[in-house]
C-alpha cells in the first residue's frame, strides 16, 4: 500500500483582486521525492508554495503536510523548511546566528543549539564560516547558509523557491547537484519552484507544469518531455514543431492527418475522419536528407534551409517549406562538426519516424 503523500493539495484557490492567481490546484508530493513546479512568470508557482508554507491563506481548498491538515495552522507551527529566492538571510546575525534562529525559536537547549549548528554547517561545508556576516559571503555561500538554516530544524518538508535563480551558470549547476545529493541523503520531501525547465527535468522525480493558476500536466521528467499532453507543455518543455490539420484517413488504431499546409503524418489516434488535431513534433526527431526528394509518403516533406545555427553539441537547422512555413530540426554534431552540406539555401528532404508524431490537446483559448 502506498503511504499518503507528504504534501497534499486539494482544490486550492487563491484570488488577488478578483483574479485567480491559483485556480484549483491539486497534487501530492510522495515521501522523499522532489516535485518541481514549472511554468512561465506569474502562473502562480510562488503563491502555491507560500500557501503550503502558510505565508498566504488560500481562499478555498485543503492542504496537508505529512497527513496532517494544516490549512488553518499558522506559519510558525507548520515546521516547513523554506528557501527564498534571494535567500533572505538575517542581515544582523552572523552565519551561526542565522542557522541557530530556528532552533532558538523551538526552545532547544543552548548546548544542543551549538552542536546542531556546527553539524548543519558541516553538512553544507561551511563550518569554517560560522562567524561571518551574511554580506561577507558569496552568493553560493549564502545559498548554503540558507539551506543549512532551513534544514537544521529538521522540517517535515522542504520548499525551494527558485533556489538557484540568483547564481551564475557554473555555480548553479554545482549547487543543483549538491542540493540533490543532500536531499537524497536526508530523504526529505521537497517541492521546488523554478522557471528553468532544464533544472526541473534534471533535479525532479516529478514535474508539474503550471499555466494561468492551473496544473497543465504532472508527470515524470521523461514522460513530460516525451509525451506532453498539451500544445502548451510541448512548447514550454523543450521546443516543438506544431502541425495542425484534419484526419483524412483511418486504418485500425492509426490515422493519417493532413496538416493545413499540406504535410501528411501518421498518428496513433481514435479520432474520426474530418476531425481536427494538433500534432507536436520534436525538432530532434527530424532527419535531413541532402540527396533531395526520395519519396512521397507521409512523415516527410521537401524543404530548403533558411538558417543554420551551430550550438556546439547540436546544430539548429531552420527550414522553410515551399509555401514559406517554418520547420525546425536539431541535429547532433558528430565530432563537434556541423554536418557537411548544411548551408542556407540548400534543398533538403526532412523526414521523421512516425512514432515521434505526438497528438496534443490544443489550447482552449
Amino acid at each position: 500500500m502506498m503511504a499518503r503523500p507528504d504534501i497534499e493539495l486539494g482544490g486550492v484557490v487563491k484570488a488577488y483582486h478578483g483574479h485567480r492567481a491559483v485556480d484549483g490546484v491539486s497534487f501530492g508530493v510522495e515521501r522523499g521525492t522532489i516535485l518541481s513546479l514549472l511554468g512561465p512568470s506569474g502562473c502562480g508557482k510562488t503563491t502555491v508554495m507560500r500557501m503550503i508554507a502558510g505565508l498566504v491563506r488560500p481562499d478555498a481548498g485543503e492542504i496537508a503536510i505529512k497527513g496532517q491538515p494544516v490549512t488553518r495552522v499558522p506559519v510558525h507551527r507548520r515546521n516547513v523548511g523554506m528557501l527564498f529566492q534571494n535567500y533572505a538571510l538575517f542581515p544582523h546575525l552572523d552565519v551561526g546566528g542565522n542557522v541557530a534562529f530556528g532552533l532558538e525559536m523551538r526552545g532547544v537547549a543552548k548546548a544542543d543549539v551549538a552542536r546542531k549548528v556546527i553539524d548543519a554547517l558541516a553538512l553544507v561545508k561551511l563550518d569554517k564560516l560560522a562567524g561571518r556576516m551574511p554580506h561577507q559571503l558569496s552568493g553560493g555561500q549564502q545559498q548554503r547558509v540558507a539551506l543549512a538554516r532551513a534544514l537544521v530544524v529538521e522540517p517535515s518538508v522542504l520548499l525551494l523557491d527558485e533556489p538557484f535563480g540568483a547564481l551564475d551558470k557554473q555555480l548553479r549547476e554545482a549547487m543543483q547537484v549538491e542540493t540533490r545529493l543532500l536531499q537524497r541523503r536526508l530523504g526529505i520531501t521537497t517541492l521546488m519552484v523554478t522557471h528553468d525547465q532544464e533544472e526541473a527535468l534534471t533535479l525532479s522525480d516529478e514535474v508539474a507544469v503550471m499555466r494561468g493558476g492551473r496544473i497543465e500536466q504532472l508527470a515524470s521528467p521523461t514522460a513530460i518531455y516525451q509525451s506532453p499532453t498539451s500544445a502548451f507543455v510541448a512548447g514550454f518543455i523543450g521546443t516543438s514543431n506544431f502541425l495542425r490539420g484534419r484526419i483524412v484517413l483511418r486504418q485500425g488504431d492509426r490515422a493519417l492527418m493532413e496538416s493545413d499546409d499540406g504535410i501528411r503524418v501518421t498518428v496513433a489516434s481514435a479520432a474520426a475522419v474530418g476531425e481536427r488535431l494538433t500534432v507536436a513534433l520534436r525538432p530532434e526527431a527530424i532527419r535531413l536528407d541532402l540527396a533531395g526528394t526520395t519519396g512521397s509518403g507521409p512523415n516527410r516533406v521537401a524543404t530548403t534551409i533558411d538558417q543554420v545555427i551551430y550550438r556546439g553539441l547540436t546544430t539548429h537547422v531552420y527550414l522553410k517549406r515551399a509555401g514559406g512555413e517554418p520547420l525546425t530540426a536539431i541535429r547532433q554534431n558528430d565530432d563537434g562538426a556541423i554536418l557537411a552540406g548544411l548551408v542556407p539555401g540548400a534543398a533538403v528532404e526532412a523526414w521523421w519516424p512516425d512514432e515521434r508524431n505526438h497528438v496534443v490537446a490544443e489550447d482552449p483559448a
Partner: protein, 310 residues
C-alpha cells in the same frame, strides 16, 4: 553583494562615513567632489566653533574689555554656581525625556507608515510633517495657550469640565518636553519609517517559517533591523532638544532653565560674550559626548547580541 543587503547592514553610520571618506579620497577627483562642502563647513562651522571655544577662555573685565591670554575663570564659575550646574542637569534630563517620549510615540507611527495601507501611510506622513511647516515660535506660543496654568489653559479648562485639575503644566519641564516632542516628532518618525521600509519582507517571512511567532519576529528581526533608524532619530532629537532655545524659553520661562536660553541671555542681555561662549562650549561638548557614548553603546550591544546568538 546586493544593494539591499548592504543597506540593511547594521554597520555604524560612523564606520560607513569613514568608508565613504576613504572612498572619496581614492583620487583627486574624490577630493574635487568634497572640496566645496569641506570649504563651506570650514567657513561656517569650524571657524565659528573655534572662535567660540577660544572666547570661552577670555574673561570680561568690569570695564567691559577682554582680558588677554588664557583663563579658566568662566569654567570655574560655570561649575561652582548652582544655577549653571542645575541648568546642565535640566538640559540633559529634558533632552533624554524628549528623546524617549518621541521614540515611544514615533515607533508605532513609523510601523503603520511603513507597513500599513498605502493611503493611511501617506496621510500619516503629511500629519507628521505638517508641524514642520509652522514656525517654531508660533508653535511654542500655541502650546503656551494649551498648557497655560490656572483656569486659562485649554488642558485645564478641559480637566475642569470633567471635574479634575487644575494641573501645573506651563513653566515646568513637562511643558518643554511636550513642546519639543511636538516639534521633533517627525525627526524621529522619518528615519525609523525609512529603516523599517528597507527591511526585506522575505527576511521576516523566513523568520516565520523558522518558527517565530509574530512577536518573536518583531523582537528578533524587525526591531533589531530598525535600530539604525532609531539611532539616527534619537541622536537628532537629543541634539536638537538640548540646543533648542525657543521652546525652553517660552514654555519653561524663568522657572526651568536650560543651557540654550542661558547662552542667549549671556550674549544678548548681559553682553558677557566670554561666559556665553563657555556655556555654549559646554553644551556642544555635552551633546557630542552623549551622542558618541550612546552610538558606541548601541554598537557594542549589537555586536554582543550577534555573538550571543550563536
Amino acid at each position: 553583494m546586493s544593494i539591499t543587503d548592504r543597506r540593511t547592514d547594521l554597520g555604524s553610520p560612523w564606520r560607513r562615513l569613514a568608508g565613504a571618506l576613504r572612498g572619496a579620497g581614492d583620487g583627486l577627483a574624490g577630493w574635487g567632489l568634497v572640496a566645496p562642502v569641506v570649504l563651506f563647513f570650514a567657513v561656517v562651522f569650524l571657524v565659528p566653533v573655534g572662535l567660540m571655544v577660544r572666547w570661552g577662555f577670555y574673561r570680561q573685565l568690569d570695564t567691559g574689555a577682554l582680558s588677554d591670554g588664557f583663563t579658566f575663570a568662566n569654567y570655574i564659575r560655570l561649575f561652582s554656581v548652582d544655577l549653571y550646574r542645575k541648568a546642565t542637569w535640566t538640559t540633559l534630563e529634558i533632552s533624554v525625556l524628549t528623546t524617549v517620549v518621541s521614540a515611544l510615540l514615533a515607533y508605532p507611527l513609523a510601523l503603520v507608515m511603513a507597513r500599513g495601507p498605502a493611503l493611511i501611510g501617506r496621510i500619516l506622513t503629511v500629519v507628521v510633517i505638517a508641524p514642520m511647516l509652522i514656525n517654531v515660535v508660533v508653535r511654542a506660543y500655541a502650546w503656551r495657550v494649551i498648557l497655560a496654568n490656572g483656569d486659562q489653559g485649554i488642558v485645564n479648562w478641559l480637566l475642569a469640565q470633567i471635574g479634575l485639575g487644575p494641573v501645573h503644566l506651563l513653566y515646568t519641564e513637562w511643558a518643554i518636553v511636550i513642546g519639543s516632542v511636538h516639534v521633533f516628532l517627525s525627526t524621529m518618525v522619518l528615519p525609523i519609517a525609512a529603516a523599517l521600509g528597507r527591511i526585506d519582507p522575505a527576511v521576516e517571512d523566513a523568520a516565520r517559517t523558522l518558527g517565530a511567532s509574530s512577536f518573536a519576529v518583531f523582537r528578533r528581526v524587525t526591531f533589531p533591523l530598525s535600530l539604525p533608524g532609531l539611532a539616527v532619530g534619537s541622536t537628532l532629537v537629543f541634539s536638537l532638544t538640548a540646543s533648542a532655545f525657543v521652546a525652553p524659553a517660552l514654555l519653561g520661562g524663568n522657572f526651568v532653565k536650560m543651557l540654550g536660553p542661558l547662552v542667549q541671555e549671556q550674549i544678548l542681555s548681559v553682553f558677557d560674550w566670554p561666559f556665553g561662549a563657555a556655556l555654549a562650549t559646554l553644551l556642544v561638548v555635552l551633546v557630542m559626548g552623549v551622542n558618541l557614548a550612546s552610538v558606541g553603546l548601541i554598537e557594542r550591544r549589537l555586536q554582543r547580541k550577534m555573538k550571543g546568538a550563536r
